[in-house]
């Protein structure tokens, strides 16, 4: 397996509303396999915007994004959806669980979409992930019956279901108290250490960032260190 999981070359993005301004300025960076990287910076410096470009959901930019040394810039909507499904796991500040499905089914959905395994197997794997996250007892509950920290753990399990190359998080602990964010951090740490999972997490929490392998600091759309 190649060591470079994610790479950007000269990423530049503009917003045109209300006036034209450069949110991201010539960003070149890469993340290696098994790394736990955090992105920090002042509010409004463009962290989220960068993450959306890396996630392939936002395609309106200049420069190139490569995932696993494959150029994703310019690929079709369907291909990008497949790449997200297969190679990227997301954890956002908000959990985005589907209220119509049980916790277990929510975790299974991306797996059912990928169809790499049979439904029974996907269910089994989903249960395993929930178990690692200490959520196996909640598997058959509906999302609205869970606490905020529990929902976030379910979202992490969902991000893991297809064994993604990289998990991206945008302030995944932003809505959680100290105890719960420590818990989420420990989960992330365990994933990198024991499963060699690559992680790229935007955070405001200096404490959280300080405990990661590498910190990328941004200011006004540029990487400064």
């Amino acid at each position: 397996m190649s060591s470079k999981v994610l790479e950007t070359i000269g990423l530049t993005k503009y917003f045109y509303e209300p006036t034209k301004f450069k949110v991201l300025d010539n960003i070149t960076m890469s993340v290696d396999h098994g790394e736990f990287v955090s992105i920090v910076g002042k509010s409004g410096c463009g962290k989220s915007t960068l993450l959306y470009l890396l996630s392939t959901m936002d395609t309106d930019y200049e420069g190139q994004v490569l995932i696993h040394e494959e150029l994703v810039t310019g690929q079709s909507d369907i291909d990008l959806a497949r790449i997200r499904n297969e190679k990227i796991g997301f954890v956002f500040q908000f959990h985005y669980l589907l209220s119509e499905y049980t916790v277990l089914k929510n975790v299974m959905l991306p797996g059912l979409k990928l169809q790499q395994y049979s439904e029974a197997e996907i269910e089994h794997r989903a249960m395993d992930h929930l178990k690692t996250l200490g959520m196996q007892d909640q598997a058959l509950k509906m999302p609205n019956q869970l606490s905020g920290g529990q929902k976030q753990r379910v979202a992490i399990a969902r991000a893991l279901i297809n064994d993604p190359l990289i998990i991206m998080g945008d302030e995944p602990t932003g809505n959680l108290d100290k105890k719960n964010s420590d818990l989420v951090f420990d989960i992330f740490k365990e994933l990198t250490q024991e499963h060699n999972q690559t992680l790229l997490v935007v955070t405001h929490d200096a404490d959280f960032a300080g405990r990661t392998n590498r910190i990328i600091t941004m200011e006004d759309g540029k990487i400064i260190s």
Partner: protein, 418 residues
Amino acid sequence: MNYRLILNIAVHLLRARLKQTVVAAVGVTFGIAMFITLLGFMNGLNDLLDGLMLNRTPHVRLYNEIKPAENQPVNLSDDYKNATNFITSIKPKDRGKAIYNSKTIIRILKEDKRVVDVAPKVTTPVFFNSGTIEISGIINGISVAAEEELFKFSDYVTEGNIADLEQNNSIIIGSGLAKKMMLAKGDIIKVTTPKGNLASLKIVGISQIGIAEIDDVMSTTSLSTAQKFLGEPTNYITDIQLKLHDINLAPQLAKEFGTKFGIDAIDYQTANSQFETGSNVRSIISYSVGIVLLIVAGFGIYNILNMMIYEKMDSIAILKATGFSGNDVKWIFITLSLIIGLAGGFLGLIFGFAFSSIIDTIPFETSSLPTIKTYPINYNPMYYVIGITFALFTTAVAGLLPALKASKIDPVEIIRGK
């Protein structure tokens, strides 16, 4: 694309909004049920009226019309061949009402594959005598078996049995005539023919067609009885009536037989053109009412899907973020609306059938239609096929716009908004 998963998601979204879903489906159900009921009822009426006419009118009728000779003598003259000839005061030529060579014509027609059956007939105006009064009328001498086959004449015989016509000198008289002349089955009626022949016929039945003008004048006897009292030989036939396998061929065949046998021919469509118009208007009414109802139902579906998409923005965003393409999302919502259409439409068919059956049991008795006891309904399965097709079509169209809208939702915008 994984249809099972898409269907599963669609069903879950529907279940979460069960009330609205039911309201939308009921809209479709109502539209389809009305469509089926109206179409069945209107066409039932059409059939009834068609039957009324069809049963009295042959698909093709061959006869001799009293009219001027087509080839006037001057046209035969070589001297005036290239001239334009004006002829005035032409009088019609009486070729006699009898069809020349009728036996041969009937034989040839019976062999024709396009013809179901042939019914020869003798029609003659007569006077019915009752005491001192004379009432003018018409006697049809029919071939009983053929007439029954073509026109179901027995349906219109309210008293007596048509088989009794086979007896010599028997007659079935119209109900209006019987009333006027105070005659009943078993009585003897005296008849005077145009040539002055007198005959006494025994009444073996009363007929009621349902059209007063006909019931007041028409009586029926057998072919041989009619020929006998007219003093004509057994090849004396005034009308040859045909029933065809395909009624749509009638105009064409009328023309063909007319030229072939040198005789006048009229087809069903020409004889009943005004009835066709009525039938068409009724069909158009039922189709347009059904379509209008379905369009209304379509708007209902459109609204509900739009609302659902608005409510489910987050879900759509995360589905897209986790690997569902715009196309998948579009199909989720199209499937949603098709489920509403299918469920609503199917129920609509059931209700439509139920309403039709209820109407079918409502008594509808009128003296002019002796065989009809309840409102007529046509249960043509084609209406049900059209109904469900309409339902699916409207819901698919109504679902398409919201579905396209959902497929274009930009997940970044939603996620950034939180």
